[in-house]
């Protein structure tokens, strides 16, 4: 029996890749977090840093991800093994883990959205106390788990068959999302204009200059841009694996980023207009937590939709269906990111999907029922889920840093090669002149791109990125620590809201992954003994460490040479359809055992 995939898997059309990437980027963050950030950061004031960082942070980083994925043609673990070297495969595992760990509770949250769609569609949100509905739902684990399960089931169906299915599901859901959002927007503007003015829109596009001068506004703009686009998640690396040959990474990245922000604006306008139309103190509503806005405030607001019961039904159904689609397409990319890494290492796709989906379901379960608490205003909230969000949310920053690191490293080794060959001189000015452009020259401006990426990208990656990374991390932990009194109690790891618990979990996971590097990621234990491997598990003589193969998903005819990269000399890295040295049937079983 041979588990190997015989040939490459790719998207059917360019627009398919775009839609898949947009589907991944657009999530609940666009629809509930963006309006909240606009409300909390001075309306139009917020749009300026948010747009600025789209071009300074998100699009450049996504370009890098697409370029890495397009060349490596593997998921995150393989991409780092190829681009940074076999000692650094764990960075890819970190990237995959952050995305997957967020996926554990994201499936639960997506389930809430689907539940609210069903409630909206059955008029279950009309003329009710929305707090009661929410509390009743959240405190009923059966319901929450049911919808979590539904989300995971839909996700499995979408990715089971690979790229083509992902593509068509994303195209269908994204197009529906646009229709739903525009419907909501039209109704919301109608509501807001019923008094003769568009308060919500006016607020959303008015600048408060004093707030624009505050660093906090810029930091919030940066963080919204960083999270909303999924830049650094490894998602673009994953979908680039299915990119057809000769595709333009730059245009894809720009389209994805701009589409993401377009949807944010539409959603923001719809949500703010509706709230400003219906609420006496709209800013108090819009500055609450995300789930509070979405599941408590908006149903109340939508109940006042124009057009009576019909308008109300349309508004609620359209909004929550759109929200569900946004969540589902992001969920699909999360699971695919994880699955891709298994497939790269020779696991059958259906096994990988089954395993990943089961793990996400089981590890998401605690978020459905553990520590469901009441806040001071009598609203239920999932404290366990919140703590997980607290722990893993900022891990994304390090994923982004690792991607930047791979770019720095490539530029450096290429430059060193040129210096050794005597082509150029050494020294920092020489590096800035000749070395920094290495990655861009070789992997971005390849000739496939319609948009040429200028030298500014090098400066963003080498200088702006580390500065912004530091600003975000320092301001986040600084705020967190200073909110504790005395400050050092923030480092008590038993406080689920402190900094200590974040560092503890990050440390444990990073240490574990670095430890895995040579035993799971780039090498594999092979059983040489008699009988089933489990019978000889503890006899060292039965086991031998061999290099682990890595299968690249290379479309026919694509030029994806990795010879110049750190992973280029690894004989175990082969293209799909090739059989690396030492590969045999035993491997499948051993690998399964390792995963289980």
């Amino acid at each position: 029996m041979n588990h190997l995939q015989k040939s490459s898997d790719e998207f059917g059309s360019r627009i398919g890749l775009i839609f898949a990437a947009i589907g991944a980027a657009i999530g609940t963050g666009n629809i509930w977090r963006f309006p909240r950030m606009v409300g909390a950061n001075g309306g139009g004031t917020f749009l300026i840093p948010w747009l600025f960082f789209l071009f300074i942070w998100s699009i450049p980083l996504v370009i890098a991800e697409f370029a890495i994925g397009k060349r490596a043609r593997t998921g995150t673990v393989g991409a780092f093994r190829i681009f940074v070297g076999r000692k650094f495969a764990w960075m890819g595992l970190w990237t995959a883990w952050i995305s997957t760990a967020i996926g554990f509770y994201y499936a639960v949250v997506a389930g809430w959205c689907v539940k609210y769609f069903t409630l909206g569609a059955t008029n279950g949100l009309a003329n009710v106390d929305t707090v009661e509905v929410w509390n009743a739902f959240l405190t009923d684990p059966g319901q929450v788990i049911l919808f979590q399960f539904i989300v995971i089931a839909i996700t499995i169906m979408a990715i089971w068959k690979g790229a083509k299915a992902i593509e068509s599901v994303n195209i269908w859901m994204m197009c529906s999302l646009f229709v739903m959002l525009f419907t909501t927007l039209a109704l919301a503007l109608w509501m807001d204009f019923s008094d003769g003015s568009l308060d919500g829109a006016t607020f959303m596009f008015s600048i408060q200059w004093d707030l624009l001068a505050e660093p906090e506004t810029w930091i919030n703009g940066l963080s919204q841009s960083a999270w909303s686009c999924s830049a650094g998640m490894g998602m673009a690396i994953t979908y680039a694996v299915y990119m057809r040959k000769d595709e333009d990474t730059v245009l894809n990245a720009a389209t994805m980023g701009l589409a993401n922000n377009s949807i944010s604006i539409i959603a923001g306008l719809a949500v703010l207009s509706a709230i400003f139309a219906a609420s006496p103190d709209p800013l108090a509503v819009v500055t609450g937590g995300s789930s509070a806005i979405t599941f408590l405030a908006l149903p109340e607001v939508f109940a006042q939709a124009p057009g009576g019961a019909g308008g109300r039904w349309v508004m609620m159904t359209a909004f929550f269906l759109g929200l569900s689609f946004a969540a589902l397409t992001s969920m699909i990319s999360t699971v695919e990111l994880c699955v891709r890494n298994f497939v790269d290492h020779g696991i059958e796709r259906n096994k990988a999907v089954a395993f990943t989906a089961t793990a996400i379901f089981l590890l998401g379960l605690p978020s459905t029922f553990v520590w469901i608490k009441m806040d001071a205003e009598g609203v239920a909230f999932p404290a366990f889920l919140e703590v997980q969000d607290h722990i893993w949310g900022y891990g994304l920053m390090f994923s982004g840093l690792f991607i930047a690191f791979s770019i720095w490293k490539y530029g450096y080794i290429k430059w060193c090669g040129m210096v050794e060959a005597g082509e150029i001189e050494g020294g920092i000015p020489s590096f800035i002149k000749h070395g920094m452009s290495g990655f861009r020259d070789d992997f971005i401006n390849t000739g496939d791109n319609d948009l040429w990426v200028p030298r500014a990208w090098d400066f963003i990656m080498y200088f702006a990125f580390p500065i912004l990374f530091t600003v975000l991390i320092v301001s986040y932990f600084g705020d967190l620590i200073s909110s504790f009194d005395p400050w050092y109690t923030a480092f008590n790891p038993s406080d689920p809201h402190g900094a200590g618990i974040i560092l503890l979990f990050w440390g444990v996971v990073a240490a574990l992954f670095i430890g895995f590097n040579d035993y799971v990621l780039t090498r594999r234990p092979v059983y040489l003994g008699e009988g089933h491997w489990i019978t000889g598990l503890f006899d060292r003589g039965n086991w031998e460490m061999r290099d682990a193969p890595l299968f690249r998903n290379v479309p026919e005819g694509a030029e994806v040479s990795i010879d110049a990269l750190p992973g280029g000399e690894d004989p175990q890295i082969v293209e799909v359809g090739e059989v690396p040295e030492g590969w045999d049937d035993v491997y499948g079983e051993v690998m399964d055992a390792e995963l289980a």
């Binding site: 139009g44 607020f203 596009f205 919030n220 103190d281 937590g289 796709r349 089981l362």
Partner: protein, 719 residues
Amino acid sequence: MRNAKAILLTLLLFNSLALTGSIGMTTQDDPPEGLAPEDIWSLDYANHFYPWGGNEKIQFKEFHDYFTMRDRMMQLAEQNDNIMSFHEGLNGGTNARGEETTADTYKGWHYSHPSPWMKITGGGEELEGVYGGECNDFVGDCGNYENIPDIQLVGNHHAREWMSYEVPMMFLETIAYYYGTAGIDNDGDGLIDEDTWGDSDGDGQLDDDGDCLSLDPSFQDSNGDGELCGPGDLGVDEDFPEQQITDLVNTREIYLIPMLNVDGNRYDREVFCPEPAWESCPSGGWRKNLRNNGPEPLPDLTQNIDEDCDGVDLNRNYQFEWGWPLGATIPLIPGTCTPAEDERAGISNNDVYTGPFDTSDNDGDGLINEDNVDGEDDDNDGKVDEDWAGGNSEPETRFIQDLTEMNDDDGDGASDYKATLTWHSYSELVLYPWGHCTGCETPDHAELIYHGNKMAEMTTYENMQSSDLYPTTGDYCDWHYGVHDSYCYTIEIGTAFHQRPEDIDHIAVRNLGIPFYMVQISDNPRERAQIGIQEIDKSQWLISSENLSIPSDGWVPITMCIAPDFPFTNDQNHTHVMWRTVKPTRQQSDFGPKEWIEADWEMTGFEETQNNCTLKDNNNTGTTIVANLPVPDDFSGKLHYKSMLGTRSGTFPFSYPEPAGTYEEISIAYRAPYGNTFMALLLFFIVATAVWGGLGIALKIMVDSGKDEPQLGKKEAQG
């Protein structure tokens, strides 16, 4: 508990298959019909765990001894060096009556320890701290401020009265833990500051929030004193406003001397009443200090204590009316030795030995003891109390006297301690002067009763004049009141000299409100009593959040109704509104409850208006004063406000709303315009061009380049 939760969290994150749904729930065997403590409060609170942690002594489950108490004081001073400084005895120098002293003057006769004490102050509204302000070379402390009232709190005059230093330690721990905090839910019932000391709502129940009263009756007497939901029981006066503690520490200088009689206490603990003292001598023990009354002359540190003779009763060794009247609780013949057996049986008056007669000519006029300390010029020489008959002969009482007379921040020669307190055991009493005469009253009799009643209410102790218990001579309070015009109270704590260890904490909790009350009134106890007796302050009101309407733009006016005869000052430092804004954080947690940030408190002064208003309670007409708070129009969130009034004679603060430390809260909506339509359109076009225009261009390029591309045949994926 927190550690247990963390372990559980770790387990769940890594191994979520463990379906433990019972976190936070409690079970009990054979449930009573009503509520159990765990049903209402946090487990920590219900189990008498104090939030500052520490060992059994720090948790008030065992008695401190001198050494552990001193260590803990030093530790707290180190951890809270903005508000606490640790001291022992005094540096000495030339004292108020021209005597030369040194640090050795204040060390105990036998073990040579100076009394440890703590100086506590936040250093005024500017928070200059305990090391700011003026430094006093004689006393050895800094943080002395002319305009900040001082208070002296003294424990353990009498060696065997162990609770009399545990109560001050509880007071100290409470300040150290809660200073600078606000809004803490002490008992974990989800409410904040809902039950402060005393009967603040005036319904006759100390349990203002009714949580103790809601318990099953079998849990209502958690301290076992027979009184259901009385002071010291769980749920009674358990959630005081931390802000009040902070305010008090900031606006007072507190001199806390938990153990005055270190010599005697060590002797009682180590020699006279060995552990367990609560079984061997619950109602006996060593009372005095360790003065050597013979036969060897002092110093005689190597000699064993002569229990039949040695020691002076420190609370009979102050100078006011020392030795008077004969027949009070003093030895019939000073210096007489009585066998120890009779001592323990309480037969002899040797236990209240006042110390030796003073045979020196204190004023150098050739006469001896011609003008004893009684506030009168007995010899008509124009000088008062200049040649005393005795008293102040002991290191410990000299320490108190010199501290009182040398801590003169304003340099006016009068004592800065307008209020003083001393803790004793036992009998559950609050005592006020006089002690030296029976059937007599002080000029402040009504005022002293007023404050005494307040403290008696908090503890359900009995308030009475000291001499009605028994007449004394030369005690602490007669001296402070008689010589220094200080409102002085003696608290007789508890039911035994050596209480059982399991009773320490709830007796301390029962007595915790008293020192805070004394600290509060120490600015001007006489005026506070007079205002309190007339209840003027109770009739005044600060506008409540329900009655406050926020104007559609501009300042937010906060009004107060002031009684015409209330002597308030216009000084903005003492009469003002304290307010702060509370905004949602800009980075909310996506899934958790709404998070808020509190700005610092700000101060805005009042202006008088011509408007009349109706006072509470008596329907009399008052004057409206108003403070206009500069809350910006574009603020959206909550406003917290409270007012503080000072009087012209310096009493500060009278706080509104009641109880002190609480505040009103009102939500304020965004009041500024949302923006300018034209500018909004402009920005909309810029953003739309950048985002949608950019997207359009990108799509166009994509479509154009797609035309050139050859169509690829689809590949079938296998596997």
